[in-house]
Symmetry: C2
Subunit: 395 residues, 2 copies
Amino acid sequence: MPTSASLANRVIKAIESVTGQCDPAAHQQYPLHEPQFAGNEWNYVKDSLDSTFVSSVGPYVNKFEQMLADYTGAKHVIAVTNGTAALHISFMLAGVSRDEEILLPSLTFVATANAASYLGAIPHFVDCDERTLGIDPQALRTYLKKCTEIRAKQCINKNTGHVIRALVPMHTFGHPADIDGLMAIAHDFHLNLVEDAAESLGSSISGRHTGTFGLLGALSFNGNKIITTGGGGAILTNDAELATRAKHLTTTAKLPHPWKYEHDQIGFNYRMPNINAALGCAQLEQLDNMLALKRRLFERYQRAFAGVPEVTVVQERVGCTSNYWLQTLLLNKTNSHKRDAILAATHEKGILARPAWQLIHTLAPYRHCPHMPMEVAKMLERRLINLPSSVKLMK
Amino acid sequence: MPTSASLANRVIKAIESVTGQCDPAAHQQYPLHEPQFAGNEWNYVKDSLDSTFVSSVGPYVNKFEQMLADYTGAKHVIAVTNGTAALHISFMLAGVSRDEEILLPSLTFVATANAASYLGAIPHFVDCDERTLGIDPQALRTYLKKCTEIRAKQCINKNTGHVIRALVPMHTFGHPADIDGLMAIAHDFHLNLVEDAAESLGSSISGRHTGTFGLLGALSFNGNKIITTGGGGAILTNDAELATRAKHLTTTAKLPHPWKYEHDQIGFNYRMPNINAALGCAQLEQLDNMLALKRRLFERYQRAFAGVPEVTVVQERVGCTSNYWLQTLLLNKTNSHKRDAILAATHEKGILARPAWQLIHTLAPYRHCPHMPMEVAKMLERRLINLPSSVKLMK
C-alpha cells in the first residue's frame, strides 16, 4: 500500500496532467469551480441596466423562467433568489409543517436541512448508495418498514410519533439519484417527493430532466454551479396550482392591483432580480456547450487516473446523464484514511480540491435529529474528493 | 368643498407642472420611482463579470459594506440579499423568539411583519404620529403603561402573557421617526430597539444617520429605493459581536476552513452577490447628488401645490434630514374620502401615484395580532398619496 505522500503525489500528477501545472509561488490557483462568461452576459446585463429594470420586475426574469421551462421540460418555473429559497418554498408547498419530519440525505449541502428548519420541520436523515451517491431506496424501504406505520394515509414515525411528510432526493454533484426506486417509496409510504436538483441542471434520467419527477424541484445558480446568476435559484413544477402559489409566496403574496398594497398571506421577498436573470439568460444559452466541455473534462480525468488504481473517477450510471458538475474521485476503501493528506497536498499546490460535506446528521444544529444507520454515507464521506471542475480547464 | 373630480384635476395639474405633461396615449408613464444609473454602474458591473466573481464572495461586497459604514457612521455593515433578510436577521439577533411579541407600526410595508413571522414571533401593531408618519412615542407609552408590566426586566403583555421583546420604528418614506422618544420607551420598558431604515438611506436625526440608533438597523436597496442593487439590503450595527454573528448567520454559519464544510448553526443564504454589490458601489457614489435632486424635487412639488389648499406636501421636521425618498401628499381631513378618485384619475393619466400601504393589522395574515387603537394610522392611510419621485424628473 502506498504512503499517503506517495498517493497524494500521484493524484496531483494526474490532476496536473489535465489542468496543466499550477504555480502557487505565482499565486496561481485552480479553484474547484469558476464560472465562465463567454456569451451574451455583458450584453444582457447592460441591457438590463439601460432599461433601469434591474429589480424584481423585468423581462429577463420571465425570459429566464421560460428558457428553464423549455430546457428542463418542467411546465412551470419560478425564479428565486437562491437554491435555499427554492427548497424553502418547495417544502412549504409540499405541505411540510412544524414538527413534521422530512427525509433528507445526510450527504448533502446544509441548505437542504436549513430549508426544512425554516418551517419548523425536523430533518430525518437517510443513508445513500455508493452507486448513485444519492439516497439508497432499498435501505430506506427496509428502514421505513421497520420504524414507521401508515395511519389515515399518513406515514408516522413510530419512535417519535411525528408525521413524515416528504422525501427529498438530492442529485449529488450532478449524478442522478435512483429516482424510480424513490418514487415508489414516496408512493407506498404516502410521502411527497421534492427533488433537490441544486447541483443537477443538465442531468437527466432516461431523457427526463432531474427536478421534474417530484411534486416540485429546486435548482441553484450560485456562483459555483454549472451556470450562475450571481445568486439565484428556481422552483420547477408540473402542477399549475402549485406554480401559482409559488409565484405568489415568493413575491410577498401581494394581490394584483394597480396601486393597492394588499397581501393575503405571510409571503417572502424571494423574487430573482432582473439583473441576475439577465446573466442567467446568457448563461443558459451556453449550457449545452458547457455540458459538452464538462463531459470531456471527465474523460480526461478518467484517462489521467487510469494509472492510479487506488482511486476511481465517478462516472454516470447507465440510463442516466450526469452534468458532471463536480468531477469526483472515489478513494478505494483501503486508502480512505488518506483523504486529508491528499487534500492538504493539493491545497499546498494551489489545487483547491475538496472533500464532500461533513455529514449533516453530525453537525451541531442537526445532531439531535432522527437518522437511519449511515454506513454508506460515512464511508463515502471519507472517500470522496472533488477535483477542479471549471469549464475553462478545457481551453 | 370641491368635487373629487375637480380636486383630482388640480392635483394632476400640479404634478404635471413639476414632471411635465404625460401622454398615456403614447404609453408614456411617470412611475412612482425609477432608479438612475448615471455613474460607474457599467464599469463596476462589467468588472465584476470580467473577474468572474459575481456571487457571494468578491471585493465589491466588502467595498459596499465599507462605503455604507463610512456613509452612515455605523461601525459594522453586513450586506444581504434584501431588506426583508436584513430585518429577519436583525430581529433574530435582537433576541426575538417564537411566541414573543414585537412592536411594529401598522403603517409600514408588510415585510416588517413578515420578518417577525419567520421567527414565529407575533407582531403587535402600534399607532403613528401625524407629524413624523412614524410610531407615536407618547401614545405608545400610555398604551404600554396600561397593558404591560415589567417582570424580571422583561416587558410582559398583560393581555396575552407574552414577552414583548423589541420595538421597531420605521422611517416612513424617508422621514425620520421620533427616535429620542422611542429610545426612551425602549429603555423604560426593556425593549430592544431595531430600526427599519429600509426607506431612509440618507436620512438623519441631529446629524446621526437613521438605522444607527438601535441595537441594529436594516436598509433596503430594492429597485424602488433611493439607491438600488437590483435586490439587496444591509444590517447596520455598532456592536462588534452582533456584527460577527450577523455575518456568520447570513453566510450559512460555515466555520472557516480551507476545505471542510462544517456549519455550527442553522444559517441562511442571505449574502449579497458581488454583481449586485458592484451596482451598489456605483450607486452609493452618487447618493449625495441624488439626495440633492430629491430635495429640489420636493421644493418644486411644494411650490406646485401651494395653490391647492386641500393638500400639504409632507416636509422634513426641524432637526431632521429626510432623504425625500417618496414625495408625499397629505389630503386635509375634509377631503380624505377623495383619495381613491385622485388615484384613479392620476393612473388614467399615466401618473403612477399610490396610496400608503393598507394598514398591516387589517391584512388577513395579521388580523388576529394584538394592536393598540389606530386612530392616527387609519386617518393617515386615508389621506396619504405618494407622488412620482424619480430623480430623473429633475433633469
